[in-house]
């Protein structure tokens, strides 16, 4: 745990890039949810816009996930030497994987939290400006899935959790690959 925190802060630049992918994806998701909720409250949303929103949101999540996979691949590649060294000291493969999953999970949770906050605040600001203080008087559902109307707060919480989970999933492949390399190959890398 300690190692992970240190790793994040020492490489703050890399960490920021990894986190920003999730940040943007979550921000976008939350802004769309907020927008839907406000507009539904004012009965302004039509079917086509709704469908388009779902499509946009899905795409943004895919993009964010791909961004994280890429970022974690880079993070892992930069640290091949460290990983090789740790294996020489007796680290088990699953320790290495867990180390990177923990790191990406923390970055994901943090990025998602900030993203949700950012997305909500920006969208709220836009609608407050447009509709004045009455904007949030009546909130409709942020999303309707099979007849279940999801309130905005649930949507936001869901987005944060989703962001964190995606970050962990995205790190699995890079972390597993790095852990399975024979130490000689890992140590040979010169970056």
């Amino acid at each position: 745990m300690n190692m992970t925190l240190k790793a994040i802060f020492v490489r703050i630049g890399r960490s920021a890039i990894t986190a920003s992918g999730i940040f943007l994806g979550t921000a976008f998701l939350v802004s769309v949810l907020t927008q839907t909720a406000v507009l539904q409250g004012h009965q302004e949303l039509d079917e086509a816009a709704s469908a388009r929103n779902i499509w946009l949101v899905t795409m943004s999540l895919v993009v964010a996930t791909v961004g994280i996979i890429n970022s974690m691949l880079m993070a892992v590649t930069e640290r091949y030497k460290e990983i090789g060294t740790m294996k020489c000291l007796g680290a088990l493969d699953r320790f290495i994987v867990r180390l990177f999953l923990l790191e990406s999970g923390m970055l994901g949770a943090f990025g998602a939290l900030l993203g949700a906050l950012g997305g909500f605040l920006v969208t709220a600001a836009i609608y407050l400006i447009r509709y004045g203080s009455g904007a949030f008087a009546r909130l409709g559902p942020a999303m309707t899935i099979r007849g279940f109307d999801m309130p905005l707060w649930l949507g936001i919480v869901g987005a944060v959790v989703l962001g964190g989970i995606l970050a962990v999933l995205a790190a699995i492949y890079p972390a597993w690959r790095a852990a399975k390399m024979p130490p000689a190959a890992a140590l040979r890398v010169e970056i």
Partner: protein, 249 residues
């Protein structure tokens, strides 16, 4: 010389027809071609040869860092090829200590944390590990630099930390790959002496792959390797190399 327990064999490392081949483009590169070496417990043995001779490949085979194409390595009479990933990790943690030319310390950790890391993997409590780690760092002359990060230490000091780390779990073997490669003449001599002291004090077998001739003086035996094959193995007494004249000090 301490008396070895009857159940422990005299040879701590044995290789049988060890070979490693790489396929580059259309050709086969034979980094190692049928190497047979028996290394006794407590020996200080140097593997010497020019660049590209196969020393590092040999180092990787013995250390379980890579798999041979052919042949076997026996550590304490156990065939390494029979070990699964967890058993290999155990071996690397408890039986073998590694020292590299590029030190390979974890940059985000202090000297003490670097030395205690293998102890944590071995299951020691943080307190026990820190106590043991401090003693080891003291022994290698870095007692006042426990909390320095590698970037705050000189090359020689980093290698000392690496030596302390290699000794963390009282291994039977220390494998050193060009330990003096990145060090100047004087510092290199200090490191070689430190390794010899560890060999004498703790009876740990030291296997060092190097082309530093200064290593010859402290070695019990020297294995000369060239083009992946052993040229000859000599006891120190048989070697007649005058290194002193080259130093110019």
């Amino acid at each position: 010389m301490t008396r070895v327990a009857p159940s422990a064999s005299e040879y701590i490392v044995r290789t049988k027809d060890l070979a490693k081949e790489y396929i580059m483009g259309g050709t086969i590169l034979r980094a190692l071609d049928g190497v047979v070496v028996d290394i006794r417990r407590g020996e200080y043995i140097s593997i010497m040869g020019p660049s590209g001779s196969g020393k590092s490949t040999f180092f990787n085979m013995i250390g379980g860092l890579d798999k041979p194409t052919r042949g076997s390595v026996f550590i304490n009479e156990v065939d390494m090829a029979q070990l699964d990933a967890a058993e290999l990790a155990y071996l690397r943690c408890r039986t073998i200590g590694y020292i590299f030319q590029t030190f390979n310390l974890i940059p985000v950790m202090t000297a003490l944390e670097n030395v205690t890391l293998p102890m944590i993997f071995a299951g020691l409590s943080t307190d026990d590990a820190q106590m043991k780690g401090s003693k080891l760092l003291d022994r290698v002359g870095l007692g006042d630099r426990l909390n320095h990060k590698p970037s705050e230490l000189s090359g020689g000091q980093q290698q000392r930390v690496a030596i302390a780390r290699a000794l963390a779990n009282n291994p039977g073997i220390i494998l050193a790959d060009e330990p003096t490669g990145n060090l100047d003449l004087k510092t290199g001599k200090e490191i070689i002496l430190l390794l010899k002291e560890m060999n004498d004090e703790q009876g740990v077998t030291i296997i060092s792959a190097t082309h530093d001739l200064k290593m010859i003086d402290v070695s019990d035996r020297v294995v000369w390797i060239r083009d992946g094959k052993i040229e000859r193995i000599e006891d120190r007494e048989e070697i007649d190399v005058r290194v002193g004249e080259m130093e110019g000090e």
